[in-house]
């Protein structure tokens, strides 16, 4: 049998404490303090339960991070009424925040808790009228901003703030390829999606975003946005529609698409998609946030009714220390 040194070119080292860097991933060592062999393993993501939303929401929009999050609008279940309410999340619980100027659901959204936008979608329980006016949040109050050139529902958004965002897709009637860029004042036509669709999972910034899956027909297409144009890339393992936009978080180089129908979770590393840990309570048409990162994030709202207030928090450490056992 080959020895560890013959395979790795070095002996197993003895260390008084565990390594503290992802650069050591793959390292096997003997921890003299615990008297055990350990290995630095790649981090594995998982979902945990977060605080419940005070209002149940389907087709909800959102922005921010897992420790400073924001949701706005959506459809209240089971009354099927479109809402203008918003709540903020502090990493533990949701608190009421000021209401948007109007009702909105299934629209695009982006930004952070103190600088966010919701636009598009529908303003009433029916599919029309469509929401064309951007609603902007500054952390304490909402105001009306610019209007979409093409009003639509089922559009998805990405962006870092209320003055730098982009929204794409959606429809009604039909499905759109239209992409529009927002500067805090007005929308400008930008490069179209290659494939018309609505309800994509997506996130990122105004110049670096991803659009994955969507409706109609539970699509598997994925496109990357570079600020100017969309390019097709590797398709999802499982095509899916989300029943609403933005079941994703991340960027063009690292992203996660969350739930939908079917309801597994896939992770994007910039090259390929890999199945990863599922939500404990699977659903569609909730909203995922995790601005420009896949190491932390959260998913909230969605259906069926039972789960419409649930929040789950995503965490993927860069590495983990595992004790070597024999069995």
């Amino acid at each position: 049998m080959a020895t560890y040194k013959e395979i790795k070119g070095q002996t197993v080292s003895s260390q008084a404490s565990d390594p503290s860097s992802a650069a050591d991933t793959g390292l096997l060592y003997y921890n003299t303090a615990s008297g055990t062999f350990k290995v630095v393993a790649p981090g594995v993501g998982a979902w945990s339960s977060g605080g419940g939303m005070n209002g149940s929401r389907y087709g909800v929009m959102g922005a921010g991070t897992v420790t400073a999050g924001l949701y706005m609008g959506g459809t209240h279940q089971p009354t099927d009424s479109t809402k203008n309410t918003s709540e903020t999340y502090n990493g533990t619980s949701w608190s009421s925040a000021p209401a948007m100027p109007g009702n909105l659901r299934n629209g695009g959204s982006w930004g952070v808790q103190t600088s966010a936008v919701a636009v598009g979608g529908s303003t009433s329980p029916g599919e029309t009228p469509l929401g064309g006016t951007a609603y902007e949040f500054d952390g304490s109050s909402w105001s009306s901003g610019g209007s979409l050139i093409t009003a639509r529902r089922g559009n998805t958004g990405a962006g870092a703030s209320s003055s730098a965002g982009v929204t794409w897709g959606g429809g009604d009637p039909g499905d759109y390829t239209n992409t529009e860029s927002y500067n805090g004042t007005s929308f400008t036509e930008a490069g179209d999606l290659n494939t018309a669709r609505r309800n994509t999972a997506g996130n990122g910034t105004q110049t670096d975003a991803i659009a994955a899956g969507g409706d109609p027909g539970s699509m598997d297409n994925v496109e990357l946005w570079n600020g100017t144009s969309w390019s097709e890339t590797t398709v999802l393992n499982t095509g899916r529609g989300f029943g609403g936009p933005s079941g994703g978080m991340g960027s063009s180089t690292a992203a996660i698409v969350v739930s939908g129908n079917p309801n597994n979770v896939e992770e994007w590393d910039g090259t390929s998609w890999t199945e990863t840990s599922d939500l404990a309570t699977t659903r569609g048409s909730g909203h995922a946030v995790g601005y420009a990162t896949t190491s932390t994030g959260m998913y909230f709202g969605g259906s069926p009714y039972t789960y419409a207030t649930y929040t789950e928090e995503w965490s993927k450490p860069a590495y983990s220390i595992e004790t070597v056992t024999t069995s």
Partner: protein, 98 residues
């Protein structure tokens, strides 16, 4: 037996943790009121979690019956919606737990 079954109300933060999700299988399904049916991996960590959340143990058949009843109630509610409201999301479908 690969799984255990229980009902419990998700209280929010730390009802289940990242560590617990890595230690055993867990999935939640529609239950009565605020309670969910939970399918729990059958190991010592899963047992500890059921105890932590004061889960009420069920047989698989009992758990499935709760889920089916809830889904059927949601189907009735869905069927009562106006057509335009139904167009916004799919009709709940029967689901078999693991």
């Amino acid at each position: 037996m690969e799984y255990k079954y229980c009902t419990a109300i998700n209280w929010g933060k730390n009802f289940f943790t990242h560590k617990e999700r890595r230690q055993f299988y867990l999935s939640g399904h529609a239950g009565e009121g605020k309670s969910c049916v939970w399918v729990v991996g059958n190991n010592i960590h899963g047992d500890h979690w059921i105890s932590k959340v004061s889960g009420v143990s069920k047989t698989k058949e009992e758990a499935q019956a709760i889920v089916t009843t809830q889904i059927e109630a949601e189907q009735i509610a869905y069927d009562a919606l106006p057509v335009e409201a139904q167009a916004k999301y799919p009709r709940p479908v029967e689901f078999e737990i693991l």
